[in-house]
């Protein structure tokens, strides 16, 4: 029953660009999306900078090619834009799209619109076009809307495991293919900035007012971001039949729970270690074969310590190159796993490793530090991509090159 699963397309939108190409350019040129908030209406526009996509919803409607004012939340719009690119790259036929599954992730669905119209929506004396958002805060709403827009019928699912959500959609999609339920699974996530999220993270006191500094001794927290990314996964049979050239193979994955604290990771990174280990075991790969780790690296005190220790334990003395792309895009929460999976695809295709920026001071607790300069012409056969979240959720994805 176990079938091989390949990536045949991807699409992405973040604060560092619309589309894979633009994102790639920004990454290798150290361009970040960090700055004052301009579009989201919040009292924290200047005191809590974030990685905001500087496109208004009506502009996103154009990019998404959907009518303005028809109830697409910002979450859904970002999703549609990334999904279009992914399906086009994978060159999916109408029939393949119809039979495909869509697995999407979000942490708060369309809460941005709910928080904007919260009291108006409850007041029956007020009428207006805001009523299109009467039920759009639901986390599954964007997934169903996208499925209907593109005619995806095979399987519909939405996952929400906080910051590891979209990594889990990739696992679920791969499981559905391996179990013969689907031949094509489109997996990823989408996340729009909202007052709800900004204030939520602010109350937890894990937001850095400066640019975030992953794995740095001086780190004090994360920057939030928004964005969306989807990857098209296809079965080996489907690729053999179409003659499509895959981009990478989804070789393994691990999902575990830290069972340590409601929001924090265990200091020794037990969940993170187990998730990475499971991914390696499933892929039949030893730790010494890993060429690069795209770390979760949120730059919170807690995450980077536990993830760093987990890597030291897993790789023993020989930790491979690792970097965090969070300073570029901010932490895009549910979308982060898919966004970083797309970054892994780009790294593999271009034979490069992204520099982890803003690193200055070595952490006392670790013997390792992130890759600070761009590395070119490096063959990446195996990449691990980590995503960890609230509720103890820890996920790790193992991608392997198809041109070994």
């Amino acid at each position: 029953m176990s079938r091989r699963v390949f990536v045949t397309g991807y699409g992405i939108i973040t604060s560092i660009g619309t589309g894979a190409e633009k994102n790639y350019e920004s990454l290798i040129n150290r361009h970040c999306g960090y700055g004052a908030i301009e579009l989201l209406d919040t009292v924290h526009q200047t005191d809590i900078p974030a990685c905001e996509i500087k496109l208004h919803d009506h502009e996103l409607c154009k990019l998404a090619d959907v009518p303005d004012g028809s109830g697409y939340t910002r979450t859904a719009l970002l999703g549609v834009i990334a999904l279009r690119e992914a399906m086009a790259m994978a060159n999916l036929s109408t029939n393949e799209i119809k039979q495909a599954g869509l697995l999407s992730a979000t942490t708060t669905g369309g809460i941005r619109e709910l928080e904007k119209y919260y009291y108006q929506l409850q007041d029956s004396s007020q009428q207006g076009n805001f009523r299109v958002f009467s039920d759009s805060a639901n986390p599954g709403e964007h997934t169903e809307r996208m499925a209907e827009l593109f005619g995806i019928k095979g399987y519909i699912g939405t996952i929400s495991t906080a910051c590891s959500s979209s990594a889990n959609t990739i696992m679920m999609g791969a499981d559905l293919i391996k179990n013969g339920v689907l031949n094509t699974a489109i997996c990823g996530g989408t996340e729009a900035l909202s007052k709800f999220t900004i204030n939520g993270f602010n109350t937890l006191m894990i937001l850095d007012k400066e640019q975030c500094r992953p794995f740095d001794k001086s780190r004090t927290g994360l920057n939030l971001g928004e964005g969306a990314a989807y990857l098209v996964l296809e079965s080996e049979e489907s690729i053999l039949a179409s003659g499509k050239k895959p981009i990478a193979e989804v070789k393994g994955y691990g999902n575990t729970n830290d069972a340590f604290h409601q929001t924090a990771s265990s200091p020794d990174g037990g969940g993170a270690y187990q998730a990475m280990l499971h991914a390696l075991v499933m892929g039949g790969v030893t730790s010494s074969q890993i060429d690069y780790v795209n770390a979760h690296g949120t730059a919170t005190e807690n995450n980077d310590l536990s993830e760093g220790l987990a890597m030291q334990k897993l790789f023993d003395a020989k930790v491979p190159h690792f970097s965090s792309t969070k300073p570029y895009t901010g932490h895009t929460l549910a979308a982060a796993g898919a966004i970083e999976a797309v970054f892994c695809m780009l790294a593999m295709q271009h034979d490069i490793i992204y520099p982890s920026i803003n690193f200055k001071y070595q952490m006392d607790e670790l013997t390792i530090s992130p890759q600070q300069e761009l590395i070119k012409n490096i063959k990446l056969n195996y990449i691990l991509s980590n995503s960890f979240g609230f509720g103890g959720n820890a996920s790790s994805l193992l991608f392997s090159s198809v041109t070994k």
Binding site: I156, T158, T161, N199, Q262
Partner: protein, 356 residues
């Protein structure tokens, strides 16, 4: 060969007194305001007092259901925890939103935010049981419970000896009731919940509940039934296409519609949303016992978990309480139960249960 899965234990807290597995709807609660709230168990029987103080109402309800399920299954350490919810923790979400307005985004309560995340219950159950294995939360409206079950089934395929705790939860909320009432989700006039199916109007009742199931590839000592298969159908074109999907599903399981002893349907009392399902029941299942449940649970995204509990309990206890029955068909020893749910006329799901 088709894999086999079993429901080895259940725990459910709902608008009826369902938390005691020794009973089966012995006591029925009426509701008159179109909102059905959970009949709560004594939480301290399931949750330690220090932990209890820190938890929101729905986390208490959810964790109690998980503990009841574990005790029912006699399982100590599940391999993974999977939950499904349509709207998550509405109360905490609303509280946090209201504070954002009230205090202009300053000095808010972190607990509301932390307990509003959809995966808060799966994380809490993992933490309580020290379960470090697989952990996931599905949130797709009327498919949230079904994708959770499916996720567990796929994880049991390579190792049938494992056990997964699969839970579903959704809660009632005033703000949501207000908003959704205006787009016709709920009945315009207050009705007697038990007479839900007598009204030929649109709209349904707002319900809530939390249910956990212990799912394994091997039958446990207290096994309720076999979980033979499940399928989801998104927005079927018409009743004909729905009937075709149902028949295809049954024939893939080597069953004919005549062999379905009990048809548990998720009719919601909304004439419009129930339309397709009603036709399928009338045309395909006129030999089966007509069992309905949303007059007892109310409607919510994961109400099919209540339906699944009803079906599993019928097979285990070999008895159907009158309050569930809507025709006079008799089956002396029900062997096969099909649950067909519909949510908002868009998410349809089929769950096939068989006697162990």
């Amino acid at each position: 060969m088709k894999e086999r899965y079993y429901i080895n234990g259940v725990g459910i807290v709902s608008p009826q007194r369902t938390f005691d597995n020794a009973e089966f709807l012995n006591e029925i609660t009426h509701y008159n305001e179109n909102v059905l709230h959970c009949v709560l168990p004594e939480f301290k029987e399931y949750i330690n007092p220090i932990q209890l103080r820190r938890l929101s109402r729905m986390l208490r309800v959810g964790l109690s259901a998980a503990v009841i399920c574990l005790r029912d299954s006699k399982e100590i350490a599940p391999h993974g925890i999977i939950t499904g919810t349509g709207y998550g923790f509405l109360h905490e979400t609303a509280k946090f939103l209201e504070e954002i307005y009230q205090y202009n985004e300053k000095q808010l309560t972190p607990t509301y935010f932390m307990q509003s995340t959809y995966n808060a219950l799966a994380g809490l159950v993992a933490l309580t049981l020290k379960c470090k294995g697989y952990n996931n939360t599905h949130v797709n409206k009327g498919f949230a419970f079904e994708t959770s079950l499916h996720d567990a089934m796929m994880h049991l395929t390579p190792d049938a000896s494992q056990t997964f705790l699969v839970g579903a939860f959704d809660e009632t909320d005033k703000a949501q009731f207000n908003i959704h009432s205006q787009i016709g989700y709920y009945k315009a006039e207050p009705i007697d919940s038990l007479k839900l199916f007598e009204y030929k109007t649109t709209g349904t009742l707002q319900g809530e509940g939390a249910a956990f199931f212990s799912i394994s590839g091997t039958p446990g000592e207290n096994v309720l039934c076999e979980l033979a298969d499940l399928k989801m159908i998104f927005c079927p074109e018409d009743s004909h296409s729905l009937a075709m999907d149902v028949n295809e599903f049954l024939s893939a399981n080597n069953i004919t519609t005549d062999q379905v002893d009990v048809l548990v349907s998720g009719l919601s009392g909304d004439v419009k949303n129930d339309e397709k399902l009603k036709v399928v029941i009338e045309t395909e299942f006129n030999h089966s016992i007509d069992v309905r449940f949303k007059h007892l649970s109310g409607e919510y995204c994961t109400a099919s978990s209540f339906g699944c509990w009803v079906g599993a309990s019928i097979l285990k206890k070999q008895y159907i309480p009158d309050v569930l029955r809507f025709n006079n068909t008799i089956a002396t020893n029900p062997k096969t139960v099909l649950i067909i749910n519909q949510y908002m006329g868009r998410n349809y799901s089929l769950i096939l249960l068989k006697n162990k």
